[in-house]
Assembly symmetry: C2
Homo-oligomer: 748 residues x 2
């Protein structure tokens, strides 16, 4: 794709109808914007050749339309006001929602989609599309309007069904639910943080698959975010890392409207946002009037942002929330419908028909038709390029196709380690490392890292290269190991972004208890069906000396209670292999591996296949009187307790239940084999007992927080021992003597 | 307290033994430090008179000893190296722990405790003590050593029992467990964030109780924090707010050792920390050699920090992790014992006896005896001042005494609103607002706010004043309403700090689902016994149109699974009153109120006292066949379902179970009254059903995520209706026909 000279159409005067409102920027403003940019450009600019070549090739697509990137006309002005009113109509009809942000952000959205964003509404999944993320997801009426106008499969009726049950237009954007929505947003800070993952994904795919003359990957990630996103810690974590990683193709527009729900941002958000971003290594720009329907300043800023290829850019755009409404600039317009009168007033003010709803002037339809056509052409050009790539680099092309289809490499399952009881005891976190060493080289879509616990989580395989800016000499963009830093929440959100990009199986790691630092993002992995692997080590009081601050008690409960989440607590080597296999083949579900610090033996009867069914009989016994069920490091306690009970003439069988969610999905007949009717069940797990009533008649576990001390002593302190389990089994049998045993599998 | 002229002892030459190591700073360095301070002082200085007076009065105590704040001698050098070796000995004996940070931070800790921190080891709870927080809590060997040397009730044997079961010296500092530990730290970012709460508390107490001539409150909050803390989003949230709030008495020393667990901070933490802090409105200073045993530069920086009264200060102190060890400056020294050989090497290098363990030279003992005496004297002076205050301001003095004792104001319970079924239906969040309006004026220790959802959480009572810097004209430091911004995690951590300060009952608010953003801090409320009230509204799919991103499903499960946490889901006005009363009287336990967006009727038989028992019979029935149990907004569904069942000749009784934890603490006899043996139980709650097996034989609730739509339609969609409950009750009776009903209260 060659780069034609940028178009230089003269700027026509916007039509009078809209000029009343458009505070047109004098040329001098542009100069101001650039002097600001100079004074705010922060660290010295660095750029790698590959980045520059990718950047220049990209210039082609943004200038390839018959619209200049930086001149606007009356139709653009009309389009911007049409967008504002459509969004306000949607909220009004739903009698619920947020009109303020869409009306304030319409010029930004129109500028991005009409002048910069390369996407094909006919194929929302085109892999080299520019990604757009509305991080202030409550403003999604804006995003739905844009998708509709661009020709995505989102009809006017869909817009009219905004926030209604079963509609394509829910109250916040949901990835996978609405065509063209890249990420689920609304929980503030998540969008921008996952967008960092999208930008990492692009840099990695480009470094991996691009070849001279074949810039298969060169897409940008554009984000609109608000004050709330910037206040959230998750965004701080991800944006700091984005600066370090020099993600030049991440461009964020900050909707600086000075208003949040409580009122003026002066109430609690007075930090210097640009200065903060520069401290992270970002490039910053300021647009002092983001309301204009002649948004040349926004366009110039985006152009300038694209020229800085070794830093993400934040463009601070001063806007007026609810622009056009009588309540413009007030918090009242944030989260409630305008009301009929104010809506009519807004339409009049914005040069539209106050008596009409959901109106789209033909000239605006025509404008967007051109934009759509440009997007279709862009993908066609890419498809042609890819055909040539298939000729020139058949293996790479095939590999890319495989990853896009989400097919695992052939023979991967055979690479999973197998163990026998003869093998030496080892910690399940170490078994996870063994597995990564066995498969990572053969699973190039696996990308991730640890929140600064690499040596404890054991997540870095022997041959791994760090994903780092080449300039740092610490790795390169083809590297697959991420140094997240102590940023658990940002880490999880970034993994959601990698998953959303497509062609990746992201993983991340920390201590299990710190999964709760990341809970805001992990629940979105589940809700948005992101296949993210959470490698969570030090998974019980077994971490010992670090004490109760680091010992998870309640953590498994919340993960098990979260829909569409596979929580695995494997007991030994074969179960670790089974857990990974189940996770790798669950392409629309996140998985959590709860792994141990301490060593475990490889158990007779342990089964990788059993793990894929969630639970299985580890050791059966004729005429069994009791079932002992355990997970992870406590399964061997169950085995030993069964032996002890046998010495007392009590016949016990042992069940391993590493994944409740998978077990609950098994046919009842299978579940009955695992937990036969009439036999009481005693569970053992070195965490809180909460939730075990689902399967067990009695439980050995924690009823409070843990304690600091050597692990064996801590286990003893809380009775998580063979003796404790034997006693509980005896008490259970005593309780049920002559009593019927309720079947825990019966779900009424 | 008058301010004597600062002492001006000449600096004696440190002894040769230690000089080998002490890279003494030339005077010119101090000049450098100050030129840096000038260039980094950020926003123009502002200061209120009251702050200045408080600051000047404080100067007295730091200079009142016979030690100059800014000159050090050989004994100081010996003390610093003694501290380093004691900490290393502890880790070595425990064969577990973190020697690196203590050896690197010893000069900071010694400077703070010997020259600045006012505390009385004989009375760790003196209310005007300076607070010290070790935010990088893994370095707690350092903190334990300091407490021991200062004469807190922490013996040498306690140091030798580091990380052992039942010791006073657990693996991470635990508030309430060890005398002198202000906050539980270790989970990174929590310490500095809660320290912001400590600083807010001081500013508020000073504004509330100080009177001319009576500076009862003027303590500083000193923090040592590391790279990890600065990477955590929770710290970003709290530090941004601290800058806005102009908390001049918060002074944080950043242990800038360039090393984290994964290796050099260059791997992922390359932001400009000082610039970031300045963007938040902090004052910053840099000390380029923090290793010296003549830490004059550190002392000068702290002095300079105290002079800036309207900004928190971050002092970036360049240190060497594991200073003295052969592994100094490497990640290897972060989290493992040095080993015998390196430990001996370190002692030799540091001028101590390599063959001796846990050694404290007499001169060091003598030095700390002086420091202790100074602290004792400081409290004595304060006590004298307070006696005079009692004469001059008896009411204020009595009020302060009451708050310190943690006694609620007389007659508070009578102020709680009471309701009858005749009262109009209203949302429980609104009932919470009514309650706050009724009691807040009479409960001055109540302080808190919302994460930018004030209008939705309804947490601001009519007469509230914002806690704001007077300069902002938005409120004052005597105000009790906090504008947290969209910072849920920082908000919860700050409330932990308010609670830790003493004399406060802090509260904070957001949507229930976003409690998961704050989970890292909420679990510390529970572990550290902080009485924090969490006002969590929009508590189910009942929030409707905002959709699944905002609808909690799993949130109650994790809160109910967390030890020492009271989770209330009140059903109507009387239950809201009961929940608040139970929470206000649980002085060592956090409470969560799950409150509704939608209206609820006031139910016949609802009882505030019943709530304080966790659960109770709302409507009893003779010869009942089934028990319907509900919480919150679904309790009225249970009432209506019982009526419907009665029409079908099925006798149902209704139980309200607003707080599981309190109910589980009731005598079995009471529990049997609530859930009589032999009667099956069906539960209803508009969240996930996880955990309900504990009480119910069948459950109506969610098995997946919610959906966006008007609340009534969403309820219908998921069968959370009277009809759905009736059907479930019928199915349950059918299932148990001729079958014994297991007693869910039996805990084996």
């Amino acid at each position: 794709m060659s780069a034609p000279a940028p178009s230089s159409d003269p700027t026509p005067e916007p039509a009078a109808a809209t000029m009343s409102l458009t505070r047109q920027r004098p040329r001098s403003f542009i100069a101001r914007a650039f002097s600001y940019f100079k004074s705010h450009s922060g660290l010295p600019r660095r750029a790698s050749t590959s980045q520059l070549s990718r950047s220049s090739s990209t210039a082609a697509s943004t200038c390839s339309s018959n619209m200049s990137a930086t001149t606007f006309d009356a139709t653009d002005a009309l389009a911007i006001n049409t967008i504002r009113c459509l969004a306000a109509d949607m909220v009004q009809k739903a009698n619920s929602g947020h009109p303020g942000a869409p009306m304030g952000c319409a010029p930004m959205a129109h500028t991005l989609f009409s002048r910069f964003i390369r996407c094909n509404p006919r194929n929302p999944k085109w892999i080299n599309r520019d990604r757009f993320v509305l991080s202030n997801g409550h403003g999604c009426a804006l995003q739905y309007v844009m998708l509709h106008l661009l020709g995505y499969d989102l009809s006017m009726d869909d817009l009219k069904a905004f926030r209604q049950l079963g509609s394509k237009t829910p109250g916040h954007p949901e990835a996978g639910h609405t065509p063209g929505i890249e990420l689920t947003t609304g929980p503030l800070g998540q969008g921008i943080s996952s967008a960092v993952g999208l930008a990492i994904a692009e840099a990695h795919m480009a470094a991996t698959f691009n070849r001279p003359g074949f810039e298969l990957f060169d897409n940008y990630t554009y984000v609109i975010l608000g004050d709330g996103c910037l206040q959230e810690g998750v965004a701080s974590e991800a944006m700091s890392l984005a600066g370090h990683l020099q993600l030049g193709k991440l461009i964020a527009l900050y909707d600086d409207n000075h208003i949040q729900i409580d009122g003026d941002t002066e109430l609690g958000f007075t930090e210097d946002v640009c200065k903060r971003m520069e401290s992270y290594g970002w490039h910053t720009l300021v647009v002092s009037d983001g309301d204009s329907t002649n948004p040349i300043a926004i366009a110039q800023a985006v152009e300038a942002a694209k020229k800085v290829t070794d830093k993400p850019t934040l463009i601070k755009v001063r806007t007026t929330i609810g622009f056009g409404s009588a309540k413009a600039g007030q918090e009242k317009v944030h989260g409630s419908p305008l009301g009929a009168a104010d809506l009519a007033h807004a339409k009049k003010t914005l040069g539209l028909n106050p008596d009409e709803t959901f109106q789209v002037p033909q000239s605006v339809r025509d404008l967007f038709a051109k934009i759509t056509a440009r997007g279709v052409a862009a993908e066609e050009a890419w498809n042609t390029l890819f055909k040539q790539y298939q000729q020139a680099h058949p293996e790479l092309a095939a590999e890319l196709a495989r990853r896009q289809k989400g097919e695992l490499p052939a023979g991967l399952k055979e690479r999973l380690p197998k163990y026998t009881p003869a093998d030496a005891p080892v910690a399940t976190r170490k078994l996870s490392e063994n597995l990564l060493n066995a498969v990572a080289e053969h699973l190039p879509e696996l990308m991730g890292g640890s929140a600064d616990l690499t040596g404890s989580n054991l997540t870095r395989w022997k041959t791994a290269t760090d994903f780092q800016p080449p300039a740092t000499k610490l790795g390169d963009y083809a590297g697959r190991y991420l140094r997240f830093g102590v940023r658990e929440h940002g880490m999880a959100a970034i993994c959601n972004g990698l998953s959303a990009y497509g062609g990746f199986i992201p993983f991340c790691a920390t201590f299990l208890v710190f999964a709760q630092y990341a809970a805001g993002a992990t629940r979105l992995s589940s809700l948005s069906h992101h296949q993210v692997l959470y490698v969570m080590t030090h998974d019980s009081i077994g971490l010992g000396e670090d004490g109760p601050t680091h010992q998870p008690i309640e953590t498994l409960a919340v993960l098990r209670a979260t829909p569409n989440t596979l929580v695995f607590r494997p007991a030994d080597g074969n179960e670790v292999s089974g857990a990974y296999w189940a996770a790798l083949t669950a392409s629309h579900t996140p998985s959590v591996f709860a792994l141990s610090r301490q060593n475990v033996p490889h158990l007779e009867g342990s089964s990788a296949d059993g793990v894929t069914r969630g639970g299985y009989v580890l050791s059966e016994a004729k005429n069994a009187q009791i079932t002992l069920v355990g997970t992870g490091t406590e399964l061997s306690l169950a085995v030993d307790a069964a032996k002890k009970l046998r010495e007392q003439g009590i016949v016990a069988r042992v069940v391993s239940l590493p994944c409740w969610q998978l077990f609950d999905a098994q046919p009842r007949a299978y579940q009955d084999e695992v937990f036969p009717a009439g036999i009481p069940v005693v569970s053992v797990e070195a965490l809180g007992v909460f939730g075990w009533e689902r399967y067990a008649h009695a439980s050995v576990g924690l009823h409070g927080f843990g304690a600091s001390g050597p692990a064996p002593q801590v286990y003893k302190q809380f009775g998580i021992t063979v003796e404790g389990l034997v006693e509980k089994a005896q008490a259970t049998l005593k309780y049920f003597a002559g009593k019927p045993v309720p079947n825990k599998l019966d779900r009424i």
